[in-house]
Symmetry: C2
Subunit: 264 residues, 2 copies
């Protein structure tokens, strides 16, 4: 190691590392066990303050949230919405079951408010990175309670390794106003989801306003850079170097109450 | 360095490093020069593929986008909007000058579509981390052309150091549907802003759909974790380890055309 590297090491720094050796996850797998085994095999020793960003898909698979469309009976509303959106009415049936309300629809597009409180396309249901049964479509629903999933993983790690880590379950969402998807947090444990910095002084002593930072979403977005979305398959990313206040939040904290949503 | 660290070093990894020795930026400063000096002083040698995330505030300050409210004459519309939003009509005058349209307003809130194409509160104008002249408010407008600002910094670095780096100028935005601010890209050079991965195969050979990733926003969000917003003051973050396709985009690519905005 030359001097340059040594200096870089001492600077204020975050590292995001794709955790290797995560196997293809199957329904019924104990994800925390798989994760602990992968960390062990990789020689990664977790430290207090580390945050693990975990792609929603492997959480959902472990929790058995795969549905074969051939097993889905659709109702009249799903049929109607399927016609309007040009989508398979069986897929629409599942989307509606996962949703509190339809937000927007047109051919090819179905945006809903998910029962979990956020707004997303197709209620987060998709087919990519799901092994397809022959002749039928298999789709993957979001975890039923991603905040609970994150908390269970956090507790399992704490119990085994006696370290206090944060867990963020991530998904990719489209957004109003801006093109492209970004990683967002749909499950959080062991860290705040929102970091309320109101009242802190800025550089010049002027009181900061309106600066509640969505740190869990920023973590999810950063992890998204490394996870990619395709063949490379890096579903778990370890974040080291972040210094968050010792408060615990939930991804549900990130849902903007409709009556407060002045951006829409 | 023990084995564990050696192994971590070889894994797929991103590092975000706060660049030290960035001075308080003054109007008229040559930001690229300040940045090159800070990198040199810090012993950081830029590499091809590095990305520099730069907080909008120091770009705006260097470009002289500070305005003393005492110098602002407001018109009838600014007066009316100021009454409705309980905001200083001089500040409102500047917000309206920077905006294409008002999106929403109520007491305490003024959301606009910025002339640059994105939607944000107060047209991105604020007072935090701006030195206040005695007795009067000083506010900071966004750079007039942040994509151009990013490109000028990229070119200056390439000319001096003969390295191909990306530059992302970042700001913090609130969002529809979700609480908390996140870092977003308002200026981009040397990297794609959107990474169109449609057509790539996923792990199981199913063709990915709807996966145009807003990589520049993910970079900005990640940098936001390190920049913080307050007294720590880390306005420049170096990202190393990202492997993007060799295409160049602009932050303007991230603006969703209104007619395509089904999320609203």
């Amino acid at each position: 190691m030359h001097t340059e590297h040594g200096q870089l090491e001492t600077m204020n720094k975050l590292t995001f590392t794709a955790v290797p050796h995560i196997p293809h996850v199957q329904p019924g797998d104990d994800l925390a066990e798989l994760l602990l085994a992968a960390l062990d095999k990789s020689g990664i020793r977790l430290q207090n303050g580390d945050v693990l960003a975990i792609a929603q898909k492997i959480v959902s698979k472990a929790e058995g949230r795969l549905v074969n469309l051939g097993d889905v009976a659709f109702g009249a509303e799903a049929y109607r919405v399927g016609l309007e959106t040009h989508k398979d009415p069986r897929l629409v049936q599942l989307i509606l079951q996962e949703s509190a309300a339809i937000s927007r629809m047109k051919p090819g597009v179905l945006i809903v408010r998910h029962k979990l409180g956020f707004t997303s396309a197709n209620a987060g249901i998709d087919r990519s990175n799901v092994a397809q049964a022959a002749g039928e479509g298999t789709v993957l629903l979001l975890p039923a309670d991603p905040d609970g999933s994150a908390e269970r993983i956090r507790v399992a790690i704490a119990a085994r390794l006696d370290v206090a880590v944060g867990v963020v379950i991530t998904d990719s969402h489209g957004r109003p106003f801006r093109l492209g998807t970004v990683g967002v947090a749909i499950g959080v444990a062991g860290i705040p989801a929102l970091w309320d910095r109101r009242g802190e002084d800025d550089l010049y002593g002027y009181e900061l306003q309106h600066t509640e930072v969505a740190v869990a979403d920023e973590i999810a977005a950063a992890a998204g850079l490394l996870m990619g979305q395709g063949a490379e398959g890096a579903p778990v990313v370890l974040l080291r170097g972040l210094h968050l206040p010792p408060r615990w939040g939930k991804a549900a904290d990130l849902n903007r109450p409709e009556e407060k949503d002045l951006y829409r």
